[in-house]
Structure formats: C-alpha cells, structure tokens
C-alpha cells in the first residue's frame, strides 16, 4: 500500500524530534537570508529619490504593507494548522498555531502603528476609522483573544483543540468582517480620503516593496520555526517534570 507508506513518511517528517533536528539545521540559514533581504530592502527603500512629499511617506508603506500582509498570512498559517489539529490531531500542528499567535499579534501591531504614523501627516490625526486600519485592528483583537484563550487553559492538548475551532470560525468570519467594515466606512466617510497602495503606486516603488515583503515573510517563518522549537522544548520539559513527579510518588508508595 504505497499511500500508507507515503503517509507514514510524512508523519515521520513531522515528528517533533525530527522537527527539532531540521529546525536547528535550517534556522541559521533562514536567519541569514532574512538579514540579507532586510539589508537589500532597507537600502532600496532609502536609495530611491524621495524629494516630493508623497514619495517621502510612501517609505512608510515599505514597512506597513508587508506587516499588514503578514498579519493576514499569519492567520492563514494558523488556520491551516488548526485544520491539522482537528483533522489529523497532529501535535506539531498544535505547536504551530500556538507559536504563531503572538507573532501575528506583533506584526499586526506594527501594521497598526505604521498605519497610524502614515495617517498623521495625511489626515492630521493619529487615528482614523479608515476601513483598512479598522479591519487590521479587529484582527489584532482576535489575535489577543486567542492568546488569552491559550493562556487560560491548563491542558495544552485541549487548549489547542478548542482554540483551533475558534481560529477556524474566525477565519471564515474575516471576509465578512472585512466586507462589513468596508460597507460601514463608505457609509460614514467620503471614500476619496483613503488611497493607500492601489493604482497610485509607481513602479519604482514596487521593487523595494517586494523585497521588504519577502524579507518580512522570511522573518516571520524564521521566528515561527524558532518559536515552535521553543514550544516543543517547553512541552518536553513539562512532560519530564511531570514524569519525575510521578516516579517519585511511585517509589514512595512502594517504600511505605
């Protein structure tokens, strides 16, 4: 049965111990590539001429857009892992979405902060209930809720399963939230104010943006693999401590 053989191969690959081995081998490379990409991206984003005002603030986009993209991608990674938890009950999937949540929250925070900093010179206030910023803010709240949920439960297996359900329900809801926030925004504000990205982006701005997006994505994956490794270690420590406690109890009982 070749299919089963392939499946066992796959699960072997996803076995925590193998994952640790793989992680320690590729992490230095990933970190290196990330650093190089950031060096190139930062150089490009400051090298281009930016005398006129739009060109100045467009540099904020080089950080804001990749962070906003990551806030979405991170949630997709979590949703995929959630399926892994619920359908295949794979321990690595549990670890994956637990490790990704704080990363997603951090990148969402970057997107919010830079969005606000972009808005201040554009709109004159620090916060505008602009459709895109509002959606990102709601996403931020969802990340924080998931982190809080994970922290509130003692049993990691149960925590992983229950938060998986919530991640998936949230994932299905994101388009609806996005749509409704857009609707609400057009209702209350003239649409012409918001012109982030879109067709106004000149092709000279495209390259730095692309490189920075790839750099941020690499940063995310590097941190994700490292955080997953930490989480596996954490669980290993907790399992061994638990076992030590149980062993001590058993020898005590035998002694009495």
């Amino acid at each position: 049965m070749p299919q089963i053989a392939v499946l066992t191969k796959l699960t072997d690959l996803a076995n925590p111990t193998r994952f640790l081995g793989l992680a320690s081998r590729i992490l230095p490379w990933m970190a290196g590539i990330t650093a190089v990409l950031f060096a190139i991206g930062l150089y490009l984003s400051f090298a281009g001429e930016g005398d006129y005002q739009q060109g100045m603030t467009v540099r904020i986009m080089y950080v804001h857009v990749p962070a906003a993209w990551l806030s979405m991608m991170c949630y997709s990674v979590m949703a995929a892992s959630a399926i892994g938890t619920l359908v295949w009950r794979h321990p690595l999937a549990d670890v994956s979405h637990k490790a990704a949540a704080p990363l997603g929250a951090a990148f969402t925070l970057i997107a919010l902060a830079t969005g606000s900093l972009w808005g201040k010179p554009m709109w004159g206030t620090w916060w505008v209930w602009d459709a895109r910023l509002t959606s990102v803010f709601v996403l931020f709240l969802m990340y924080l809720g998931l982190i809080a949920l994970n922290r509130a439960m003692d049993d990691p297996g149960k925590a992983a399963r229950v938060s998986s359900v919530l991640i998936l329900v949230g994932f299905v809801n994101i388009p609806i939230i996005k749509f409704s926030v857009d609707w609400w925004n057009t209702l209350h504000q003239p649409a012409s104010v918001i012109r982030m990205g879109g067709s106004t982006i000149d092709s000279t701005f495209l390259w730095p943006l692309l490189i920075m997006a790839i750099a941020f994505t690499m940063l995310f994956f590097t941190l994700h693999v490292a955080a997953m490794r930490n989480e596996i270690w954490r669980r290993r420590v907790s399992a061994q401590r638990r076992m030590a406690a149980r062993m001590a109890g058993q020898t005590l009982e035998k002694g009495v």
Partner: protein, 220 residues
Amino acid sequence: MVIALLFRDLKLSVRAGGGALIGVLFFTTVVAVIPFGVGPDLNLLSRIGPAIVWIGALLSALLGLDRMFQTDREDGSLDLLLMQEHPLALTVLVKCLAHWLGNGLPLVIASPLLGLFMNMDEVAIGATMLTLLVGTPALTFIGAVGAAVAVALPRGGLLVSILVLPLAIPVLIFGVSASYAAVQDPAPFMPPFLILVAITMFFAVLGPLGAALALRNAGD
C-alpha cells in the same frame, strides 16, 4: 426528539428565573446611563438612539451567553446530550433557539420602551425593533461558539465576550445601518436589512457547527 430539549430549556429559563430578567435589566441600565454620559440633549439622544439601543442589546446578549452550556455541564446533562447523534449540531441549534427565546426575545420586546427614553420617533423605534428581531439570533448563534469554548475554561465569563465581540461586529454594523436607513432619507433600508438577514442565516449554520465541534473537542 430534539424538540423536547427546546421545551426543557424554555421551562428552565422561566423557572430558574433570572436569565431573561437580568438581561433586560442590564439592557435598561446600560441605555439609561447613556444620557448621564452624553447629557440630556434630546436631539443628540434621538440621533444616537438606534446605535445605543443596539449596543446595549449586544452587550446584554453576551451577558448570559457563557451559561448556555455551562449549567448542563455542571449537572452532567451535557455528557448525555453529546452522546446522542441527533446530530449534535442540531442539538446545539435547538439550544440556541431556546436560549434566544429565553434571553434574546425579551430584549427585542423591551427595546421600544428604551427607544422612547432615547427620544426616538416611531419609525426609528420600529426599525430598531425589527433589526433587533432579525439580528439578535445571529448574536446567539455566534455566541454559541464562545459558550462551547467556555465549557473547557476554568472560568469562562469575560473571555467569552472578548472572543465573541469581534465576530459580532458585522451584525452590529448592518443592524445599526438598517435602523438608520429607515429614518435618514437617502439611504435605502432594504440592502443592509437583507444583508443582516443573510448574516443571521449564515451564522445559524456556522455557529452550531462550530459549537458542536468545540464541544466534541472540549470533552474530558
């Protein structure tokens, strides 16, 4: 038969007292403190009225939510409900309906009175009541997922509200939009109202499915 569950839960919500009454009381109190915050300017109140009533209803709907499955878990009934494959999502749907009839419907019925407090005119009151009637079931359905998650938590309560509120934003947006559209001339009433209906129907499927999945996975 699953219908038996509907009647049992309704009986309980009437007899165990509290649930519906506390929800309505909270709703009234929230709406009643608003004028103290924004001042007794009747024009302002009538302008923000539909939004305030909706937000009050949203918060009150969340209030009783974490008890939806918790009471059944405490006395062991939840185990027996889980063992029957009616299927489980249908069982949850029936529980949602019972919960809405016991907790959501009283809010809808109380809303015209609060509309009067907010100096809203008849059309606005009618529109708000209608949108609440259509929208509050959606809050119960999506809240069921949070309630099912709360079953696994040592202390659910507040966390459930935090988890559910972001998901309830679309309901709030379209509920309030439709209420305003009924009073303010240029905006048409039907599009946001129909979208609200669609959201409720969507959540009527998603909520019970998600809650059933969470209940299955929260077992210990």
